[in-house]
């Protein structure tokens, strides 16, 4: 019992929660945008892998960290464009296209990675983002180091939650996006082309997924290795359902999830006799539990996975 209290009262634990939550926040916001406009994007796992690789490669070749993040966002948007081109105007199966994007993007990242570093046995490292202490605020006891001594991408992710919530619920663009997810015919009748709106929104969402991946190589680890995304993308898909497609709840979901992850990591080191694999299973099982709990409550965007063709009902 004391062990658990020790973990819960340590600054390191709570500081880690925010760090671990960051890629989940970015990825979940990306999925949320795509689904709010009516398209499932199972490409996330591969887009995150590519973002992780290209972010690392950009910095490794001498560019600065922000250029790395930008490269990941750009490549994410390009994969988003591919996903959108196949699922929106052509109306192909969103399940299979997304899986195809994931398989393509991840194998393509391994291919590019191997071309860039053909022989290295241990992955070459880069200098990652350093924590940035907000002057003044980071001196507050306990809360200061937890909240205000994070890296720039973490602040960015938290800021994006607010920006996206404001955009979705307070701007005409957000209204059009939410409306397209519910009823694209109504949007079309308003003189807005739902096809282009979907394509644009999917690209923006996929760019966020790319940045989520780049966070792994540019902040959390300092190198790229295959399979490093480890299902984080799929967990984001589950988190969107848990969040009932709302940005604020997505933040809560990601933080809750990161809390369990940080907690199990620390518990692993102090509890003996329990196989470590059981702890590692926890995030995946929790995601499934979240899906079960929310399945009844979930109010899915009505046109999710319904392709829109003008003049067809």
């Amino acid at each position: 019992m004391n062990v658990i209290l020790d973990i819960l009262s340590s600054v390191g634990m709570w500081e880690a929660v925010l760090r671990i939550a960051t890629p989940f926040i970015l990825g979940t916001l990306g999925v949320l945008l795509c689904e709010r406009v009516g398209v499932l994007n199972l490409g996330i796992e591969g887009i995150m892998t590519f973002g992780a690789m290209i972010g690392w490669l950009t910095v490794y070749s001498g560019a600065d960290l922000w250029t790395g993040l930008a490269a990941a966002a750009l490549c994410g948007a390009m994969f988003g464009l591919l996903h959108a081109a196949l699922t929106v105007p052509l109306g192909l199966s969103q399940h299979v296209t997304g899986l195809g994007i994931t398989l393509f993007a991840s194998s393509f990242s391994y291919y590019v990675f191997r071309l860039a570093v053909p022989t290295a046995t241990s992955p070459p490292t880069i200098e990652p983002f350093r924590p940035f202490a907000v002057p003044g605020l980071s001196d507050i006891p306990f809360l200061g180091p937890v909240l205000f001594n994070q890296t720039a991408p973490t602040y960015l992710a938290f800021g994006l939650v607010a920006v996206l919530a404001w955009m979705l619920y307070r701007t005409p663009l957000g209204l059009a996006i939410r409306m397209t997810g519910e009823n694209p015919h109504a949007v079309d009748a308003q003189g807005i082309d739902p096809i282009w709106l979907r394509i644009g929104t999917i690209m923006a969402g996929s760019a966020l997924m790319g940045v989520a991946g780049a966070f792994l190589t540019l902040v959390a680890f300092n190198s790229f290795f295959p399979t490093m995304v480890q299902g984080r993308g799929w967990i984001c898909i589950a988190l969107v359902v848990f969040a009932l497609w709302r940005p604020g709840r997505a933040l809560v979901g990601a933080l809750l999830f990161a809390f369990f992850d940080a907690f199990q990591l620390r518990l692993q080191t102090v509890v003996d006799g329990v196989p470590y694999q059981l702890f590692l299973m926890l995030p995946y099982i929790l995601s499934i539990v979240a899906l079960i709990v929310m399945a009844r409550k979930a109010r899915v965007p009505q046109s999710l996975m319904q392709p829109y063709r003008r003049g067809e009902r």
Binding site: L92, L99, G100, V241, S287
Partner: protein, 350 residues
């Protein structure tokens, strides 16, 4: 530009679609090889030579195709009923693990080979089915989307395998390496060709492709599964028991993926490690789509993937192009196949 549904599908287009899709994927991959500084034609010549140029190459290609046929069938039967089983990878591992666990059963080592082999195959298939029944039950009971749950269970299954082969099923004679106890000799699949790794699992896979085709085309269950996939609501109105049909489809699909793992461990490795499968489960999805979900077509699609994987290994050694190009090509062919199928159903009008 707009798309107009074709009045009737044409047989020629249906056959040309996968060939065209593979062709376009090979062209794009050729561009990637050229960018990497090698001659794409030379690369493809070496891939074909690696896969077919020698006795070893040919047997390796068919050895590699064996689990791919089974995971391809697993995805094809599920997708036909619109059950999105993306959990083939996890079912593969549980199937393999179940065989080695069952091998500890003392009665097995004394049993005659055909009995032991059959029992092990059944156990492997049952383990795969059991894993898929969890998400399917959640889908039927709570309406939880099975795509995400099957995907997440892949990670749980592989961690479970890792836990078992470092724990109760660990081989004490493996010098501390995490690998499972070996499959008993009586349950090892016989070789098909001397001095090669090709084993009787290939015959099992080919026979099952025919069986699955027959079940889908000629039985009431097959008809119900197809009806569920085409329009679940209409099928329910026509009296198809949706829950029972989906459960049976899950048993079949998970069973085939579990069997793939069982066959791989009984035919080649003899024991389970956590790198037993180079993404056989995920490749099965591509293979099913390339085959247009046709069980007989799965054989051809699995052979295509096997040629790419085996050939790319030897091409990579000669030219220095990463062998991941095979994965890229196979993944690309899934995307191009989707477009090709679309073009067989719609025509483009200005």
């Amino acid at each position: 530009m707009r798309f107009e549904r074709r009045e009737s599908g044409s047989a020629a287009l249906t056959i040309l679609a996968p060939l065209g899709a593979i062709g376009v994927a090979l062209i794009v991959a050729g561009v990637l090889i050229t960018i990497a500084g090698a001659n794409a034609f030379e690369a493809y010549r070496l891939i074909l030579k690696g896969a077919f140029g020698s006795r070893l190459g040919i047997t390796e290609t068919f050895t590699r195709a064996t689990p791919l046929i089974l995971t391809g069938l697993a995805a094809a039967v599920a997708f036909r009923a619109r059950l999105w089983n993306i959990g083939g990878e996890g079912q593969f591992y549980l199937g393999a693990l179940a065989v080695t666990a069952f091998g500890l059963f003392p009665g097995l080592s004394g049993a005659p080979a055909p009995v032991a082999i059959l029992a092990c195959l059944v156990v492997g298939a049952m383990a795969g089915s059991a894993l898929l029944l969890v998400p399917v039950a959640l889908k039927i009971r709570f309406g939880v989307d099975e795509v995400v749950t099957t995907l997440l269970l892949n990670f749980v299954a592989i961690l479970f395998v890792s836990m078992m082969i470092e724990g109760p099923l660990k081989d004490p004679l493996a010098f501390g390496w995490p690998q499972s106890v070996p499959v008993p000799d009586a349950a090892l699949l016989p070789q098909l060709v001397e001095r090669s790794r090709l084993h009787a699992g290939l015959l099992v896979a080919l026979a099952l492709a025919v069986v699955v085709w027959w079940v889908q085309a000629r039985t009431v269950f097959g008809m119900r599964a197809r009806a569920t996939g085409l329009n679940a609501r209409a099928a329910a109105f026509a009296g198809v028991p949706l829950g029972r049909t989906l459960t049976l489809v899950a048993c079949l699909s998970g069973g085939l993926a579990g069997l793939a793992g069982a066959v791989e461990v009984m035919g080649i490795k003899g024991y389970v490690t956590t790198d037993l499968s180079p993404n056989y489960g995920y490749s099965g999805i591509v293979i099913a789509m390339l085959a247009n979900l046709n069980p007989i077509g799965v054989i051809g699609a699995a052979l295509f993937s096997a040629v790419m994987f085996v050939g790319a290994d030897s091409m990579s050694r000669a030219l220095g192009i990463p062998s991941y190009i095979a994965d890229v090509t196979v993944a690309l062919s899934l995307l191009t196949m989707l477009v090709a199928v679309f073009l067989t159903q719609y025509r483009v009008r200005r």
